[in-house]
């Protein structure tokens, strides 16, 4: 099985909170799936951030080029399109952020892969990946099961990894 590939989002040289939060969620999912987490950094001069991500004990993949100094949805879509072909990740997870929402739906259409957006929790059981998300002003939750696919795409909502985990990650960021 392919890896759980997580986009470590950053802005102006700083990792975004959602990147830490996904590092609290992705390892649990990878364990259930019997695979490993790979954190992906896309940008320019990424050495320092790569070290920070490696501190989570995950493999870090870096796409480092002045081309990627600023976020651009088309460029990110091209990178992920190639990575999906090469690495065949089981899961591709990004934050449900202004970056994730700007390219993940287009990527899903391009690669004919399933997407669940704004996920608040994940579970892999009996060979099925299920994602929970909110509807109707948060008054109802929907459970969506992915049909079998080579790669499952999902965007993860910031602030839904659980407060305890969130606090410890924030603390980790400062140290």
């Amino acid at each position: 099985m392919g890896n759980v590939l997580v986009l470590a989002e950053h802005r102006q040289g700083v990792l975004r909170d959602v990147s830490y939060e996904m590092m609290a969620v992705a390892p649990k999912l990878a364990e259930q799936m019997g695979t490993e987490v790979v954190a992906l950094l896309i940008g320019s001069e990424m050495d320092e951030l790569a070290k920070k991500m490696a501190a989570f004990g995950v493999k870090v993949l870096v796409v480092d080029d002045p081309l990627f100094k600023d976020f651009n949805a088309d460029k990110y879509q091209k990178v992920f399109s190639a990575l999906i072909d090469d690495l065949k990740p089981a899961v591709l997870m990004t934050g449900h952020t202004s970056q994730g929402v700007d390219f993940m739906p287009a990527l899903a259409v391009e690669k004919k892969l399933p997407l669940v957006a704004d996920v608040i929790s994940l579970e892999f059981a009996g060979g099925k990946l299920k994602a929970t998300r909110q509807l109707y002003s948060g008054k109802a939750n929907a459970v969506l099961a992915f049909k079998p696919a080579d790669t499952y795409l999902l965007t993860f909502r910031e602030g839904s990894s659980g407060s305890a985990g969130c606090f410890s990650q924030r603390f980790g960021r400062e140290s």
Partner: protein, 263 residues
Amino acid sequence: MKTVVCIKYVPDTSEAEVKVNPDGITVDDSRFSFDINDADNYAVEESVLIKEAQGGEITVVSIGPKKSDVMIRMAMAKGCDKAVRVEDERIAGYDPLMVAKVLAGAVKSEEFDLVLTGCMASDDWHMSTGVALAEELGVNHASMVKKVEVLDGKKVKAYRELEGGLMEVVEVELPAVLTIQTGINEPRYAPIRGIREAQKKELKVASLEDLGLDAAAVNADASMVVLEQLYIPEVVSSAEFIEGEPDEKAEKLASILVKGGLV
């Protein structure tokens, strides 16, 4: 400038009680009041502002039941020129990728330079349909747009609102899809004359077949996800009241903050 604006008829659930039907995958919407999705309302206004500045024509595209004609007529009363409403119960409406395919089918039947739609629907919160639609149409896009400048009829400058109040400015070559944020403008009220004129404007009702689409490509079988269950989440209160004299309260609060790694 030929613009298509895609709008959705959504229930207002901000004050309503939400109940799941016995089928476990739909909600009882019989008591909800429906209206245009908030962000789509801003997209309609933006399309009208662009038409007023640049000239051109606006086509409304919507997927929904007959009762949503009220919403479509209101968009026409504000300045949109014609409309296509797709009505077909076979569409897997819970999957934005399927919805985008249907919208693309409807948009392709129109000439367009620009497609505007709200960046998010207030009922299902996916924030995915507009960007998926751009890919289906094979055109550029910018999402979460808070300001639009038409540069020369071939390009627009789109200001994307990012988290933390930052703006990202991108130039997008037309044709393109822009997903519009609330607050980009001040949606107008429909003038009385506009409401009268709207009744005479063309509103086509189309089935999937009319759009040249195969139901088997956009139904629940075609969707790569299954809506398994809807449920009402348990409301948990985690508020903690700090009791005691002021200095005791301060001490307790400080220790919570230190323990949480917040100071």
